[in-house]
Symmetry: none
Subunit: 218 residues, 2 copies
């Protein structure tokens, strides 16, 4: 172990709060460790400022206009996010409105009965941020599968898009259904991943290493 194990006493003067060394056994080698300690505390201070800036931002974002405890602020944020996710899911389910959560869903539709050969229908949906090649990618993925596209619905809202399409497949074997459903699912998931990869816009604006050019104060 690389424990430093400095055999010395660090004496904290309770009156002035200064830290003085009582170098026991060796001379003045504390210049380095002192500098290290200082940079350490400064780094920690920067970290604190970063986090607290985000806290301040959250305070501004939360509808409540009272000043809150850090903990209760987080609790408020949590409940608000939960509520928003719930209503978003509701809106996305009932109406076909693309809400905030990216998702892909594949479910079985009603059985096509009586027709020969036997077919079954799927309802697949993809909800994501829009990107230019989304539709062509989607078409390519669908074309690559043994499916017949029955109907498709596309809706957009504020840069987001929800695509629902209904496809039919010939049922060769009963066990082929799940395979097909999962392959549809993975095809859509790939598209969704490609979206989030290409739209990787970083809203991060915190200088990693900068001699503290006055963060912000509001």
């Amino acid at each position: 172990m690389s424990k430093v194990s400095v055999k010395q006493l660090l004496v904290l003067d309770g009156e002035k709060g200064e830290l003085v060394k009582t170098s026991r056994g060796n001379g003045v080698r504390d210049a380095k460790t002192l500098a290290a300690l200082k940079s350490h505390s400064e780094a920690e201070r920067r970290r604190r400022e970063r986090i607290n800036a985000h806290f301040a931002t959250l305070r501004g974002l939360i509808s409540s206009n009272e000043k809150m405890d850090k903990a209760t602020l987080l609790a408020e944020v949590i409940s608000e996010v939960k509520q928003m996710k719930k209503t978003a899911a509701c809106a996305s389910e009932g109406l076909h409105i693309p809400m905030d959560t990216d998702e892909v869903k594949v479910e079985e539709c009603e059985e096509d009965q009586g027709s020969e050969p036997k077919t079954f229908s799927l309802k697949a949906s993809l909800c994501s941020e829009y990107r230019p090649d989304l539709l062509s990618d989607l078409r390519r993925s669908i074309d690559g599968l043994p499916l017949k596209l029955l109907r498709a619905e596309i809706s957009t809202l504020g840069g987001r898009v929800k695509i629902v399409f209904f496809v039919a497949a010939i049922e060769e074997k009963p066990e082929a259904r799940d395979v097909l459903m999962s392959s549809v699912h993975s095809a859509l998931t790939n598209i969704l991943d490609k979206v989030s990869a290409s739209a990787e816009y970083a809203e991060s604006f915190f200088p990693r290493k900068r001699p503290s050019a006055s963060y912000f104060n509001s």
Copy 2:
């Protein structure tokens, strides 16, 4: 001020990390202050646990599946909340709902200033009954014009569709604007005529009014 101002030296043993008092000048009166100190540290510990529990909850709520820094986690939460608020506001107010009357509209957007070459933006919209080849017809029309498609919004409701798209054009001459606008308008009108031609019989049943999209008006 009720400064305690204990005149004593606190000696930190660097080897074991223990904190020992070297009571300077007075005896062992720390029984009370020690208890207070302990309860203080315990309270602070509880506070930390509370906050960190909320951090953990947020980690679970955020869609990202990586484990993140506290600060980045907060940043992520902030951006998600912002996004949610944006789409929520958009959904409640600015929805482009396909209404009862077929129409095509072409209007000028805000001027793009400062960019070279000079461009200007148009907002064109088409609202009609849906038919299968509508989108491909539209795309063909748009591709035939000297326009750059900036953004398009498609929304559907009950078999009707409204398509709004924003295009930019290079402004060669000032008088070319009106020419271009009218050509866009006629292109869309042609598409709309083709739609109503294929669904002509339905027009006689619903001359003018329709059950409108009432459930968007909360």
